[in-house]
């Protein structure tokens, strides 16, 4: 916690960013998960005003960072016990984004030094993995962290797209943001950071709302807020359906 505040504080002091040099907008400010939801594709557009950059003639890069709502996660590791693979060790991490996608005009290493990137809050290294259990060994912590990242990358909930941001020309850029079907719901923050000469020089922020809506929202709320009546409803539906099927079978 403290470390993260320190990093953000440092970031604020070191880089007092002119906010006006870049602006962004999204094709949709709100994503609704409805019955046909199978993931969503959004387009982020942005503009960079060359004249407001420190060096209006030098080339620049754009990094777009999309972060989902923070979650508490339990990472478990299977181990062979009595001949079968079962979950044995577990580590809990708090406040890890449920979605974390980095897109850039070039591979991050070409844009700025790793330390600079982390300072700007970009990259998996910028995520603070603090285990619930303070006695865990550093090597184990990094094993669990790596396991978590592999899983998330595999599920497309974490992505690294080194050439995901396209400069369209005339200071305009665009990138696609793809949300998989199992995307977490909540408030997403989108940051576009302009880098020049290995340093962040401009930044803009956006907020995206992802939420279940309509029937999906109603069912989900019902199940979570009124679980007993939800169960009762499920049973009534089953009785009704079974009775109907029985009638049909009689003929």
């Amino acid at each position: 916690m403290v470390l993260r505040y320190l990093i953000s504080l440092l970031a604020l002091i070191v880089l007092v960013l002119p906010l006006s040099a870049t602006v962004t907008d999204l094709s949709d400010r709100k994503v609704e998960i409805r019955y046909q939801f199978n993931g969503a594709e959004l387009v982020l557009f942005g503009a960079v005003k060359d004249s407001d950059l420190p060096d209006s003639n030098a080339p620049y890069d754009v990094v777009v960072l999309v972060m989902g709502p923070r979650q508490h996660v339990t990472v478990r590791r299977k181990a062979k016990t009595a001949g079968i693979w079962i979950n044995r060790d577990a580590v809990k991490f708090h406040d890890i984004p449920g979605y974390y996608v980095i897109s850039a005009t070039r591979p991050l290493g070409d844009i700025a030094r790793a330390k600079q990137m982390t300072l700007a809050g970009v990259g998996f290294d910028a995520l603070v993995f603090k285990a619930d259990d303070p006695t865990i060994e550093a090597i184990e912590l990094s094993n669990f962290r790596a396991g978590f990242l592999r899983r998330r990358l595999n599920e497309q909930l974490f992505q690294l797209n080194p050439t995901g941001v396209e400069i369209v020309g005339e200071g305009l850029f665009r990138t696609n943001i793809s949300l998989p079907a199992n995307t977490p719901i909540g408030e997403f923050t989108i940051e576009a950071i302009v880098f020049q000469g290995g340093e962040p020089v401009a930044k803009s922020n956006l907020v995206l709302d992802v939420d279940k809506a309509g029937f999906e929202r109603a069912v989900y709320d019902y199940a979570n807020n009124w679980p007993f009546f939800y169960g009762l409803t499920a049973v009534f539906i089953a009785f009704g359906a079974g009775w109907l099927a029985g009638l049909a079978g009689k003929k």
């Binding site: 590791r77 979950n87 007993f228 499920a234 359906a241 079974g242 079978g249």
Partner: protein
């Protein structure tokens, strides 16, 4: 066309889900079994979280059993008194099963428990059934008829010493209520942790242990399954919010149609052949689950949400 399932939190092709329901329905109609022990593993194999698969399947079985029990009811094939005693046991079993389920889910071990339960029960039931049906087929070829099994043999002595005797007119039995209570309880536990109706355990127990006449066995077991799976659905909804109504309804639509066709096909096949086939399928599912437990998984790490 894909459909987002609000509780399973994933998107699935609607025709695929209905088709799966139809195939399992077809098999259950053909073999005259509930199908839960096929559907729950299938759901797990296609990526539905095991906890959601078990709880949702309970809900589907309720519906399937209602339609099945109705048919037996019309033919006077339900011993209501026996059914009620079995339900009483089932309610207790289901309650404890759901508690175990909830505790293990919080510890990240529910998937393991489901797999182990399947390997154990499907392995033994499938193995026995396969052995018995192959023996019957060989005997039939040789032209040998096994001597008729005597009812109430070995177990009869201790069975009749148990207290709390009750008269079950429809089954023409005067036995201790403890026996059906215990059977019901075991089935209730299985229903809650495996997402099955439990007919594969209850039916043999009713015939061999209780000595019920076969004409009321299936109807009475379906009658019990209706209420025990209904209770299980409610317990899982309250404890873990893992019942996906939408998924259950989709599976049901397919299963209803499949079962009608399956029942017609089943009539044309011989009993032993049917049972051998069913046993093979049970063993196959069991093997797949067993292999998944033994083989080193490609990814050892998994991520769970929201636990503190």
């Amino acid at each position: 066309m894909s459909l987002y399932l609000p509780i399973a939190e994933q998107s699935m092709n609607i025709f695929f889900v209905i088709g799966m329901g139809a195939i399992v329905g077809f098999l259950s109609g053909m073999f005259g079994v509930g199908g839960g022990f096929l559907m729950t593993p299938l759901l797990i194999f296609i990526g539905v979280p095991p906890a959601v698969a078990v709880a949702t399947e309970s809900n589907e079985i309720t519906a399937a059993s209602v339609s099945g029990a109705l048919a037996h009811w019309r033919r006077q094939g339900v011993d209501v008194k026996m059914g009620l005693v079995l339900i009483a046991g089932g309610a207790v079993g289901s309650f404890f099963g759901a508690q175990i389920f909830t505790i293990l889910k919080a510890q990240g071990q529910v998937d393991l428990m489901i797999s182990l339960a399947y390997v154990l029960f499907l392995g033994s039931v499938g193995g026995l059934m396969f052995y018995e049906s192959v023996k019957a087929m060989i005997n039939a070829k040789k032209g040998y008829a096994p001597p008729p099994r005597r009812r109430k043999d070995g177990i009869a002595s201790w069975k009749h010493k148990l207290p709390f005797k009750m008269r079950f007119r429809k089954s023409r039995l005067y036995i201790s209520a403890l026996l059906p209570l215990a059977i019901g309880m075991l089935v209730g536990v299985l229903a809650a942790i495996m997402g099955v109706g439990g007919g594969f355990v209850m039916v043999p127990a009713m015939i061999y242990l209780l000595g019920m006449p076969t004409n009321v066995v299936v109807g009475t077991s379906l009658f019990q399954i209706i209420f025990v799976t209904a209770l299980t659905t409610i317990f899982h909804s309250v404890n873990t919010q893992t019942v996906d109504i939408l998924l259950a309804v989709l599976l049901l639509v397919g299963a209803v149609v499949g079962a009608q066709i399956g029942a017609r096909v089943g009539l044309k096949m011989k009993g032993e052949q049917l049972r051998a086939l069913l046993a093979l399928m049970v063993l196959l599912v069991c093997m797949k689950m067993g292999v998944d437990l033994v083989i080193e998984p490609a990814e050892l790490y998994s991520v769970g949400l929201g636990e503190h």
